[in-house]
């Protein structure tokens, strides 16, 4: 069963960043260490920590989807279980166990790995749709168990703890946000490096081979099931680390950490970023967290926009954001990127207008439906107007239609410029 080479899941011969050299890692580490000097506020650090946790989780998810070709709808289970277990260990520390907090993620990882070992033993026998459905079923099973097995999952309130009760490390008790930030990025770097190096080992390579062509791999001496199982276990380990980082940051875990919504979100994050690239999930996690934080402040329809964005990505840019950037490497290297500047600039304004007016249309509609009787005043993009009046809605519709029309007219030109810019190379998709 060979898959066509244009599948977004099996790309991966192109690279956005060459991670084989030490330089990008050092830059990332230095940037992360200096970051609190720039964004030192408590809320900024919270967001960055959330990003870091999402990155580790998304990278571990991509070990399955991108590198192993396994689509999981239940990956939250391994992060969640790792987190819950870490929480219990944290509480044992409070009870007298000697364990410095920075070592806690190892326990989360091992626990996630242990369950990945158990569940992987039957779920990795087949790839594709069957694997996806089993992951969904197991995910629902574990999420449902969380209200039954109260002693471990804490029922509806979940399990909480206090991270500062362990022995101090170099005088740090991890009470402050900054200290937790350094702990989190330390593990972010370790986990990212670990997952990157894993992809460069024989098993990492064979996981790609099984993903692309499981039959061929079997005739080369590899059991496809064992290869998938190994990837699954490794992925469970790193997901567990993400869970422990969550436990350290938020000091509480609930059913929400296990359920389908969380598993679905990580698929979304990874796919938006670009499944075929190692850095894809990193890009996805950063962009997603920012979007969520910013848009979540301004609109109640954030979920709707996210759904549209996700479907549009699957349909039009299946290689994700990273793929979109990577597409431009070839024209850049050939020195032809200049061909694209003008058409892109021309496309920019109608595109922005289309998005803003489309969103305005939805927001007005939503306001008309949701707002109380008599409350027809709404403000959008800094303009305050009467949502029940005709003109705001009419403006939104007209602007939307006109900008879509312009985009449509420009698309031929952009395509021509694109063909020109990629003329001699075989890059692009």
């Amino acid at each position: 069963m060979s898959t066509s080479s244009n599948s977004p899941l099996t790309a991966g011969t192109t690279r956005l960043v060459n991670l084989n050299s030490v330089l990008p890692w050092v830059i990332a580490a230095v940037a992360l260490i200096l970051l609190p000097q720039l964004f030192g506020s408590r809320s900024a650090l919270t967001i960055i920590n959330q990003m870091a946790i999402t990155i580790v989780f998304a990278l571990s998810y991509n070990m399955l989807l991108g590198q192993g070709g396994m689509l999981s709808f239940g990956h939250a289970v391994y992060m969640g279980l790792g987190g819950f277990f870490s929480m219990h260990v944290m509480n044992m520390v409070e009870g007298g166990l000697w364990l410095p907090l920075p070592l806690l993620p190892i326990f989360g990882g091992l626990f996630g790995m242990f369950f990945a070992f158990l569940i992987g033993s039957f779920s990795t026998r087949r790839a594709g749709t069957v694997f996806a459905m089993i992951s969904l079923g197991v995910g629902e099973l574990v999420a449902a168990c969380s209200v039954i097995i109260v002693i471990f999952f804490g029922g509806e309130e979940g399990v909480s703890g206090d991270r500062t009760m362990g022995p101090e490390v170099f005088g740090w008790d991890f009470g402050s946000h900054e200290q937790v930030y350094y702990l989190t990025i330390f593990w972010l770097l370790i986990a990212a490096l670990g997952m990157f190096l894993y992809s460069r080992t024989p098993i990492g390579r064979i996981a790609n081979a099984v993903r692309d062509n499981e039959e061929r791999a079997e005739f080369l001496g590899y059991s496809q099931r064992n290869v998938r199982w190994m990837s699954f276990i490794a992925s469970g380990f790193f997901a567990g680390i993400a869970g422990a980082l969550f436990a350290i940051n938020y000091e509480i875990l609930t059913e929400e950490n296990l359920n389908l919504a969380t598993s679905g979100t990580i698929l979304l994050v990874t796919f938006l970023g670009g499944v075929g690239f190692f850095v894809g999930p990193i890009v996805g996690a950063i962009v997603f967290t920012l979007l969520q934080t910013v848009l979540g402040l301004y609109t109640e329809l954030w979920g709707l926009y996210l759904g549209i964005l996700f479907l549009a990505t699957v349909m039009f840019f299946p290689f994700g954001l990273t793929g979109l950037i990577a597409m431009h490497i070839a024209p850049w290297k050939m020195g032809k990127i200049g061909h694209l500047v003008v058409p892109y600039a021309m496309l920019f304004f109608p595109a922005v207008l289309a998005i803003l007016s489309g969103a305005a249309f939805m927001e007005i509609l939503f306001h008309i439906r949701e707002a109380g009787v008599g409350d027809s005043e709404m403000s959008l993009y800094g303009i305050t107007f009467d949502s029940h009046a005709i003109w705001p809605m009419a403006t939104a519709i007209v602007v939307f239609v006109v900008s879509v029309f312009i985009i449509n007219r420009l698309s031929a030109r952009v395509k021509a410029a694109w063909d020109e810019a990629t003329h001699t190379g075989r890059a692009g998709s």
Binding site: A132, L267, G307, L311
Partner: protein, 318 residues
């Protein structure tokens, strides 16, 4: 005894409802190789459409128009969405339908809000059909059984007696051959997707008044539907039927009979630790059958997969 009969009938209603979803899902899967993650979302759309129509014309027109509307939307989504993703392979298709499920839920919330809608049983059917020793059985459920069995018989007739049915049958037995053939008949794909989603829509129309019409109804039923077809064996229509009924009954019985672990453990000779919430086994002692009812389908799936990876009726891949 009489409770038993009522439970058997109740389980039958749930099972047949599940089967209305599973059969469409299985048909789509067998023909196109796509597992439609958004299948339960079409079920939800059916209920919402029917509610909207019932506001204007009453229940009965919705019963006919809503499934058709859902089917048309399904066919359009296949034509303009799914087909675009088809070239990337089955996993991206599955991801597409997953995104679709998310989006449909958001759209439903956008138009109808987050709370449950007052979509009710039509008055004409709002009475007890019969009662056995004090346990009454609503006429509406009888109606549901008739609709589901009617659909099942129609489906059986189309599959075994018509030309298009023969093609679909061939797809069930020799998926690869017809899949290759299928590339030349996109219209059949569109049709099967439309009919499959319409059936899900119909299930939604008739289930909405009983199970509730709210934005979470798709997720609630969706996972069970997927688990059902995995248990039955992906692509097997008979497997889907058997597994649907099995799960329908398991869930109904588990919800009715309050078997308590405490009683079992005491009867085997264990003593209950007091107070129980200090014991490490507290969860085991307080376990009851209704409590674990919702997870039984998932447990069943795990057990089936461990012993029979291809599902109850699935064909083993050579």
């Amino acid at each position: 005894m009489s409770l038993l009969i009522v439970n058997i009938l109740d389980g039958l209603v749930t099972g047949l409802l599940l089967f209305m979803l599973c059969s469409g899902l299985t048909l789509i899967f067998s023909m196109m190789g796509v597992l439609n993650f958004a299948h339960a979302s079409f079920y939800m759309l059916g209920a919402y459409f029917a509610y909207q129509i019932s506001l204007i014309t009453g229940f009965w027109l919705g019963l006919i128009v809503a499934p058709i509307a859902v089917g048309v939307i399904g066919a359009l989504i296949e034509r303009y969405g799914l087909r675009r993703v088809h070239k990337y392979g089955h996993v991206p298709e599955l991801i597409f339908t997953f995104g679709l499920a998310l989006l449909i839920e958001e759209v439903v919330q956008f138009f109808w809000g987050r709370s449950q809608l007052p979509y009710n049983i039509p008055e004409a059917l709002d009475f007890a059909a019969f009662s056995i020793a004090g346990n009454s059985f609503p006429a509406y459920k009888v109606f549901m059984i008739f609709i589901a069995v009617g659909i099942f018989i129609t489906l059986l007739y189309i599959l075994t007696k018509t030309r298009i049915g023969m093609t679909i049958q061939a797809a069930l037995s020799y998926p690869e051959t017809v899949q290759n053939l299928g590339h030349n008949v996109p219209l059949v794909f569109m049709g099967v997707f439309g009919v499959g989603t319409a059936m899900a829509g119909l299930a939604g129309v008739i289930a909405g008044p009983i199970l509730g019409t709210f934005p979470g109804m798709a997720v609630l039923l969706g996972s069970i539907v997927f688990v059902t077809i995995v248990i039955g064996g992906l692509g097997s229509l008979w497997g889907a039927l058997v597994a649907s009924l099995l799960i329908g009954w398991i869930q109904t019985f588990a919800a009715t009979y309050n078997v308590r672990m405490e009683d079992i453990l005491t009867s085997v000779g264990f003593t209950k630790p007091e107070p129980v919430w200090d014991s490490a086994w507290q969860d085991l002692w307080t376990l009851t059958l209704p409590q674990i009812g919702p997870i039984l389908p998932y447990l069943l799936m795990v057990i089936v997969l461990v012993f029979r990876p291809q599902g109850l009726f699935g064909k083993r891949e050579s």
